[in-house]
Each structure stands twice: as structure tokens, then as C-alpha cells.
């Protein structure tokens, strides 16, 4: 050991000269995710925001410029909230948002109802089995999400596995119409996002101390009452995290309703697509996207602030 190691050192030596200009390790660690957010979230967000204030024109790119020089050469900013007003005028958009939120919420609920027991079972399983089960939960990620959703068509079709099985068992004599219904969309979303529900719940439930369950049982709570008074409230953070991970992407879901949904499955993702590709109205499409983002981000921020407040207490 060197002598310098023994001599008392100030906790943080002041940085001198040029070193002051270099980032410290800590700022670097914070800077990387910040940069990521900036490049992949904030910049596109501002680009969208800027397009949403423009006007659709037939040009390349197909929207009006933000700055324009008039005859005298003075620079004018051309921005208008017209596109947002437009969204308010037509009930279609409101209905699409509401319907997207409804579909996402119902899917989230079912993902929770299905995912919770699975997560619970895995968390309570002994070690070798637990790893295998966890692997099975994430295994579907090894194949393309598109293929997996397509595969559901094979189950749900008129001549699909489910109908053929039910008919051959004599349970039904006419095939059930499942494809191109909201039911199929729910199945698709719940199936696709189930791992995002299971994993945070699992992470939460493995931390649950078995002694708490025994304590409740000992104090006269049946296993059912124990679940509702102890397990469930303690797993609330996992429920919230899992639900967010399912709910948020489900709101903007485009592919699943496109592949499994029926004509009247109205979701904002499809409206956005139509605005962008069919109406060729990039500004309105951008406005639709921005509103959607706000609708999604607002509840998260609210939740976060509630949680912060609770922690402060």
C-alpha cells in the first residue's frame, strides 16, 4: 500500500484547469439516457409538433414551410392550430381515441387477469421449474411478432383449429365467427403483450415474503382473504407497471387490429394511417399523433406524481 493511500484525502478533490471542462463519470452516466431520449423521443416529437402546425400542400415535403419571406423580405412564421380544431370538429377522432382507450383498457384488464395467476405461479415455483417457466414466457419473442399474430388467424378462422375442433366434438354445428371481430383484437393484444404484464408482476411477486402470507393465514385469513388483503395490495406497483406496459402500446396498436380486427374496429392507429397515407395530410396526421401522445403521457405523469406524493408521506 502506498503512503498516499493512507493520507487523508478530501472527499472530492476540486477539478482544475481543463479537467473542469470534461464531463465527470456521473454526468456521462446521466447523459447517455438523456441523449437517447433527446434523439429518439424529443426530436421526433418536435418535428411532429412543427408539422402539425403547418398546412397540407401538394409539394415535396407535402406541408407548408414554417418560415416564409414576404415581398419585402421580412420573415414570417406561419403556424396555425387549425389542424387541432379540425380534430375537435369531427366526432370520428374523438370516437377513435375513446375506442382505442376502451380496447386498450379492456385488453389490459384481461392481460392482468390472465397474467397475474401466471406470474404468481411462476414466482411460487421452486427454482429449476421457475427458470423454465420464465423462459417459456419470453420464448415467443424469438419469433416475429407478425408471424405470431398471423398464426392466430389459423386458430380463429372459419375453417380454423378452434372451429374445426368444436364442430368435430359436436359442441357447435355452425362455425363461430371469430376472425374480423373485436374479440379477435382482444385476443391478439392480450396474447402479444402478456409477457409485458407477467414480467413486472413476477419481479414484484418474487419479492413477496412468504412469512406475510403465513402471518395472515395464522391471524384467521383464509387463503382467498389473504390474497385480497396482503398479496394484492403489496403487488400493486407490479400491477401498475405491467398495466402501463400493456396499456400504452395497445392504445396506438395498428398491426393487430389490421390483421385480426373487423371493419368496425376503430382505433386511432388506423385513423393515423389513413390521414397520413390516404388523405395524404401530414399535418393532420401529426396532430392526431401529438394528441395521442398527450393522452398517453398525461396519465403516466399523474401516476408518477401520485406515487411521489405517497412516498413523501
Amino acid at each position: 500500500m502506498s503512503a498516499a493511500d493512507n493520507s487523508p484525502q478530501p472527499a472530492r478533490a476540486p477539478r482544475r484547469g481543463l479537467a473542469r471542462l470534461l464531463p465527470t463519470g456521473r454526468t456521462l452516466v446521466i447523459a447517455i439516457p438523456m441523449l437517447w431520449l433527446l434523439v429518439f423521443f424529443l426530436v421526433p416529437f418536435f418535428v411532429l409538433g412543427r408539422i402539425s402546425l403547418a398546412e397540407a400542400i401538394i409539394a415535396r415535403p407535402p406541408y407548408s414551410p414554417l418560415f416564409e419571406r414576404d415581398a419585402e423580405g421580412t420573415l414570417a412564421i406561419i403556424a396555425s392550430l387549425e389542424n387541432y380544431r379540425f380534430l375537435l370538429q369531427d366526432a370520428l377522432y374523438r370516437n377513435a381515441y375513446v375506442s382505442s382507450i376502451r380496447i386498450a383498457a379492456i385488453s389490459t384488464l384481461f392481460a392482468l387477469l390472465i397474467g397475474y395467476p401466471i406470474a404468481y405461479y411462476i414466482a411460487r415455483s421452486p427454482e429449476p421449474r421457475r427458470t423454465i417457466l420464465l423462459l417459456m414466457v419470453v420464448l415467443p419473442f424469438w419469433t416475429s411478432f407478425l408471424l405470431r399474430v398471423y398464426a392466430w388467424q389459423g386458430f380463429l378462422r372459419r375453417e380454423g383449429l378452434i372451429n374445426n375442433t368444436l364442430i368435430s366434438l359436436g359442441i357447435i354445428d355452425q362455425p363461430l365467427v371469430m376472425m374480423q371481430t373485436d374479440f379477435a383484437v382482444y385476443i391478439g393484444i392480450v396474447y402479444t403483450y402478456l409477457p409485458f404484464m407477467i414480467l413486472p408482476l413476477y419481479a414484484n411477486l418474487t419479492k413477496l415474503d412468504g412469512a406475510l402470507l403465513e402471518a395472515a393465514n395464522d391471524l384467521g385469513a383464509s387463503p382467498m382473504v389473504t390474497f385480497f388483503t396482503v398479496t394484492l395490495p403489496l403487488s400493486l406497483p407490479g400491477i401498475v407497471a405491467g398495466s402501463m406496459l400493456v396499456f400504452i402500446p395497445a392504445i396506438g396498436e395498428y398491426v393487430i387490429p389490421a390483421l385480426l380486427g373487423g371493419p368496425d374496429t376503430l382505433m386511432i392507429g388506423r385513423v393515423l394511417w389513413d390521414e397520413f397515407f390516404q388523405a395524404r395530410d401530414w399535418p393532420v396526421a401529426s396532430a392526431v399523433a401529438i394528441v395521442m401522445l398527450v393522452l398517453v403521457v398525461a396519465p403516466i405523469m399523474w401516476l408518477q406524481s401520485v406515487q411521489n406524493r405517497r412516498e413523501l408521506q
Partner: protein, 367 residues
């Protein structure tokens, strides 16, 4: 195998849009962006063999995808294949460069009549030549129709899908419509005796009302799902694109499970469309692009493509080399009296685009 498919899913196009192939400006490369399953690999290999130019080939499945990329700019593509009505609007924006006819000697093989029709979108055929063309008609399951309407019934009218009483009789075995306002609204207007090229909002409204009246019997709206569904008996009637329905027929035959599919151009008339080869204004290798287009226009090459994808071409000199059962099929190469009954699409302005998009959403979703 014979697998022409002018469309795929909207999803794949979204991915193509996100990932994209960025063409490179190299002397020995041509970057081609075409519809999926719209060519045979052999043609590309032959081209490289003969010219030494490598082909970087990428595919899309909807005009909307192509247009979004062209308008965003700097696509890096040398040759693209828009449908003529889309091309017209894109020309107005200045997306394409004029073709250099000196580099396209094979132009002489093109049929003047068909090229003349295409010229209504691209005056003087200055920016594009026809790659393939087709119609939007009715694909159907022969046995399912015979079972419901009798053996003598011939599918020769749009009533099958636009008359609520008739469509109700096939609803149980499944009806699919194209999810394309620019195909469906003109078809409905034509059936109502209105001008299919009208841009009068009242005419669109009438078409939308007609479509809404039959919508309860429509299982889904989609641009490619019907190919496999027709082929495996999942649905029995579809409004679709000619080559795609033939692909379904071909698949059904190969599967050999007793499903027989065919295509009809109804007597009331149908939309005829042209897919055009064109060169973006910022193409990195315009000479190679011209060489590619000229190569495609060689009669033996065009014939090779038609024989593979079952779409009609506009290359008059190639027709003697097209397979007998394709060239004589009235649903692919229609006789003159049918041709006279076809109509083409028109290019809509922004206001009309918005109107029909909105009407179409209403038809599709009931909103």
C-alpha cells in the same frame, strides 16, 4: 411456383417505410422499388448478366407507401412503379424526371392504344411507360356461387356485391372488399350509373350510401388477405385486383382441396389501372434506370414477366410470346367490347382526398 402478388399487407409496408433500402450511387447498380411479387427473379438475373449492372431490388405493397417515401424525398431509388393516377399527382409535385427516349429504343414495341390511355395521366408519356396493367373486378368461389344461385348463374354483374339482397345470400360464406377508397367508390358510382370519374361530393356520397347498405354483409376490408382466403375457401366472394385473384385461383388449384376460384369483369364495366415505370428526379443512377426500363420493354422479357405474374402487359410485340391460356383469357386480356366498358381512375385534389378518406372511414367503420 406462380405467385404473383401485387399487394401484401399494410404492415409490411410500414416496415419497409421504417427500414427502407437506401440505394447507392454506383456505376454498376440500379435501385428498383417495385410491388411485391410482381416480377420473376430470372429477369433480374438476365439483366445483370447482359449489362453487368447489379439490381438492388426492394418491394412495397401500396401506392400510399411509395408516395409517402417519394414525398419525403431522397429515396435513393432509380426505378419506381406507381399506379398511373398516383403518378399524375406525383408528377405535379415534380417527383419524376422526364424520360430520355434516345435511351429507350424498345419503346417502339409498346401498344399505342394503351400508352395513349396512360397518357391521360402523363401527357405525352413523358415520365413513364406501362409495366403491367389490370382491372378491379370480382373474384369468386365457383362452387359456392353455383350452390346458391344455380349452375347456370354467371358472375357478370356488380349486383352480386352491390345489391343488398344478392350479397345477403353469399354473406354466410364470406365477402371481402378492397380497403381502397379509390377503387371502391368509383366502382360503386359506376354501378349506380354515375360517372366513375366524377369528383362531385354528391356522387361520392351516393356511392358511400350504397356501400354502407351492403356493409353488414362484408366480413372485412383488406387489400391482400382475400388472396389466401379465396384460395382456401375462407371466403367465397371478393372485390379484388385481377392478377391477385388469379394467384388465388392458382393456389387453390395447387392445394387441390376442391376449391375453384375465378375472376370476372362485370358487364357494367370496371376500373382499368396501369402501373408505370418511372425515374425519380433524384435517382442516383439515371442511365442505369433507363437501361433497366429499356430491358423490361424487350418483348421476350415482358412476356416472361406476364407468363409469371398473370397480369396483362402493354407490349404489343410480346403478345405472341405470351402463353396461350393467358393471352386468350378474356379476364386478363379482355376483348375489345369489354375494354370499351372499362374506365380509368382520376387524380383527386387534396380536398377530394380528404372527402373520400372520410367517407371511406364511414363506410368501413360506420363512424
Amino acid at each position: 411456383m406462380n405467385t404473383p402478388n401485387r399487394t401484401a399487407t399494410a404492415t409490411a409496408s410500414a416496415m419497409a417505410l421504417a427500414l427502407g433500402a437506401t440505394g447507392a450511387a454506383q456505376a454498376d447498380v440500379v435501385n428498383v422499388f417495385n410491388w411485391s411479387d410482381y416480377i420473376t427473379e430470372e429477369v433480374l438475373e438476365l439483366f445483370t448478366e447482359e449489362t453487368g449492372i447489379r439490381v438492388v431490388y426492394d418491394v412495397y405493397d401500396s401506392n400510399d407507401t411509395l408516395e409517402a417515401r417519394l414525398l419525403a424525398g431522397a429515396t435513393g431509388f432509380d426505378v419506381v412503379v406507381p399506379t398511373a393516377d398516383f403518378m399524375q399527382r406525383q408528377i405535379a409535385v415534380g417527383v419524376y424526371q422526364p424520360l430520355n427516349r434516345d435511351l429507350l429504343p424498345n419503346m417502339e414495341h409498346m401498344d399505342p392504344g394503351l400508352m395513349g390511355q396512360a397518357a391521360s395521366f402523363d401527357p405525352g408519356n413523358e415520365h413513364g411507360v406501362i409495366y403491367m396493367w389490370g382491372t378491379t373486378g370480382i373474384g369468386y368461389n365457383i362452387d359456392a356461387i353455383a350452390e346458391r344461385f344455380g349452375d347456370d348463374f354467371e358472375v357478370d354483374t356488380w349486383s352480386l356485391v352491390f345489391d343488398p339482397e344478392m350479397i345477403a345470400q353469399v354473406a354466410d360464406c364470406g365477402v371481402a372488399f378492397l380497403d381502397s377508397a379509390t377503387d371502391m367508390l368509383p366502382a360503386a358510382m359506376n354501378y349506380l350509373g354515375l360517372d366513375p370519374q366524377s369528383t362531385d361530393p354528391a356522387d361520392f356520397e351516393a356511392a358511400a350510401e350504397l356501400l354502407e347498405s351492403v356493409r353488414p354483409h362484408v366480413r372485412y376490408f383488406h387489400n391482400s388477405q382475400y388472396i389466401s382466403d379465396l384460395a382456401n375457401g375462407e371466403i367465397c366472394v371478393a372485390i379484388g385486383w385481377s392478377g391477385d385473384v388469379f394467384q388465388a385461383a392458382d393456389r387453390a388449384e395447387e392445394a387441390d382441396r376442391g376449391v375453384n376460384v375465378w375472376y370476372a369483369i362485370p358487364d357494367e364495366g370496371a376500373m382499368q389501372w396501369f402501373d408505370m415505370m418511372a425515374i425519380p428526379v433524384d435517382a442516383p443512377n439515371p442511365e442505369n434506370a433507363h437501361a433497366f426500363i429499356n430491358f423490361i420493354m424487350r418483348p421476350d422479357i415482358t412476356a416472361m414477366i406476364t407468363n409469371y405474374v398473370w397480369y396483362a402487359n402493354a407490349n404489343a410485340s410480346s403478345w405472341e410470346m405470351v402463353d396461350e391460356d393467358i393471352i386468350t383469357d378474356p379476364a386478363i386480356f379482355p376483348p375489345q367490347e369489354v375494354l370499351d366498358n372499362l374506365f380509368t381512375a382520376v387524380t383527386y385534389d387534396g380536398r377530394t382526398d380528404r372527402l373520400i378518406t372520410r367517407l371511406w372511414t364511414r363506410v368501413r367503420t360506420g363512424q
